[in-house]
Amino acid sequence: MMTLDKQPATLSASKRPRASKRVLRESFIGWLYVLPALLMYAVFVLVPFVLTIVYSFHKWNGVGLMTWVGLKNYITVFEVPNLIGTIFNAFWLVVWFSFIPVGLGLVVASVINRVATGRFGEMARTVLFLPYIIALVAAGIIWGWLLSLSGLVNQILSAIGLGSITRAWLGDFDWALSAVGIIGIWVLLGFCTVLLSTAMSKVDPSLYEAARIDGSNWIREFFAITVPLLKQEIGVCLTVTVIFALATFDIVYVATAGGPGNATSVPGLQIYILAFAQRNIGLASALAVMLMFLVVVIILPIQRLNKETY
């Protein structure tokens, strides 16, 4: 392209028809490279996305005829406490899966950067990251056992003299959802810590040195330098973990199956039950559309926060 531009005007003018033909041919070839990926993506992601929206306006059991019902499914989601409740549960999980891992991850990352820059810090990063790599189903099973009546959590509580509060945590109406939240912290803390500490290690050390010469302590350094400079990475952490929280399925499916009652039921689980156990495709799809809408609505402002910094 550049060589063409440099040619004298007369030459390039006479060549223009052929050149544009070549450009056309090249972009055609270029599109051929995208085609396989685009085709797969269209068939198994984009079309299903549109179909979910279509289903959500119908009453359908998956085999018979579809009947148009307008907004009825959406109204049902809002009216039935067990359905709209799943969305409130998802919001509560955002606190545990997102706010706590990101907040704690920031603290841990800055601790690593201050007092454990060597081997010890490297080991801490690796160890904390482990739960993020394993199957979420496995995380659910492991914690299902730890939080059970005779599990490790109660054993530790008894050992430190808190025997009176032991219970089957995942079977307790008041505590089950927060107990699921603990699983989320376990899975996501390492991801946030490693992402944030990697970003922190790239911050110009002279900034910290200057602050320390001024005698600022950890807390001032944390809020005056670390947090503002890491705005973008914090945004990334929030995005990933919020999507993770709203879309939880595996952990809840194996650890509680939504129980007790509907105390830990989340949209992902309810979609599965409505569609594949109760054959209520329309209602399940309406909940699915609401879930996807919710993700976008929450993610967009976080993304904007990212852009403002740059």
């Binding site: 599109w31 990926a37 482990l130 973008q232 194996v254």
Partner: protein, 274 residues
């Protein structure tokens, strides 16, 4: 650096306790797995007579050999194909900058925000319609498609940073687009392709929802999908369940230990650029 002793001590104590919080669950299921099958031991009780046989037992009752074959088959279908098509797409969008690149990129990135559950119902309906439901392809095909947003985005990020001079020099020498891709760019893209491949292999091994919905026979699923079914059958036999869980964890942990750098880098950069 002037950091007080107290602060160093406090900081390291915090790190230590969080490491214990992370590791204890693994230790607990390991110790539990060594107790006699069918008993309910305490979370950290030392097994008086370690029952290594539990691992053999779990391997047998969960049909692990069939399962490993089926999981590997799915991984081997998904990873190479997904790598080829996403690398080609990333090459066209990031390096050739074909007309419509911006639109294509946005289209793929949109997929990053979609939870799998949002589109699982039509995928199920579609698979029944075209006859791949409950077959070898049931999990693999949609999984390839679901990886496209991350994979294309990741490969594009590599190609967009390649210096233009390399391609221009090749063009001057009369290289076709295919030469440019196959001979020049592909060898330079080995590192990001490898990281992406490792990540997708782990994700496939760990995939649960698609396996649960699209394949009826647990032994034809991915490892994680089968573990869900195994839990349904043996939820009361805690030592056996823990042994089964460990068997499924070990391969992922091994891969992580071996390829730690690439995995962490890919996950972080993929996320940051996302």
């Amino acid at each position: 650096m002037k950091i007080g002793r107290g602060e160093i001590f406090a900081g390291r104590t915090l790190l230590m306790s969080l490491m214990v919080f992370t590791i204890l669950p693994f230790i607990s299921i390991f110790l539990t797995a060594l107790h006699p099958s069918g008993t309910v031991p305490g979370g950290l009780d030392w097994p008086a007579d370690p029952q290594w046989i539990n691992f053999v037992e779990a391997f047998k009752v969960a049909n692990m050999n069939t399962l490993i074959v089926s999981s590997l088959r799915i991984v081997l279908m998904v990873v190479p194909l997904a790598l080829v098509i996403s690398t080609m797409a990333g090459f066209a969008i990031g390096l050739l900058r074909i007309p419509g690149s911006g639109f294509l990129l946005t289209l793929f990135v949109f997929g990053l925000t979609l939870p799998f559950q949002g589109i699982i119902i039509p995928i199920y309906v579609l698979e029944r319609a075209i006859g791949i439901y409950n077959t070898k392809f049931a999990i693999a095909l949609p999984l390839i498609a679901l990886y496209m947003p991350f994979a294309v985005f990741w490969m594009r990020a590599h190609f967009v940073n390649m210096p233009v001079e390399i391609s221009e020099a090749a063009r001057v020498d009369g290289a076709t687009t295919w030469d440019l891709f196959r001979r020049i760019q592909l060898p330079l893209a080995q590192a990001p392709i490898a990281s992406l491949g490792i990540l997708m292999a782990i994700w496939t091994w760990n995939q649960f929802l698609l396996a649960l919905v699209l394949v009826e026979d647990p032994t034809q699923r991915t490892m994680a999908g089968a573990l869900g079914a195994f839990q349904g059958h043996y939820s009361t036999n805690v030592p056996l369940l823990c042994a089964g869980t460990i068997i499924i964890l070990v391969p992922t942990l091994l891969v992580f230990v071996l390829f730690q750098r690439q995995i962490i880098k890919a996950l972080l950069q993929g996320a940051v650029k996302g």
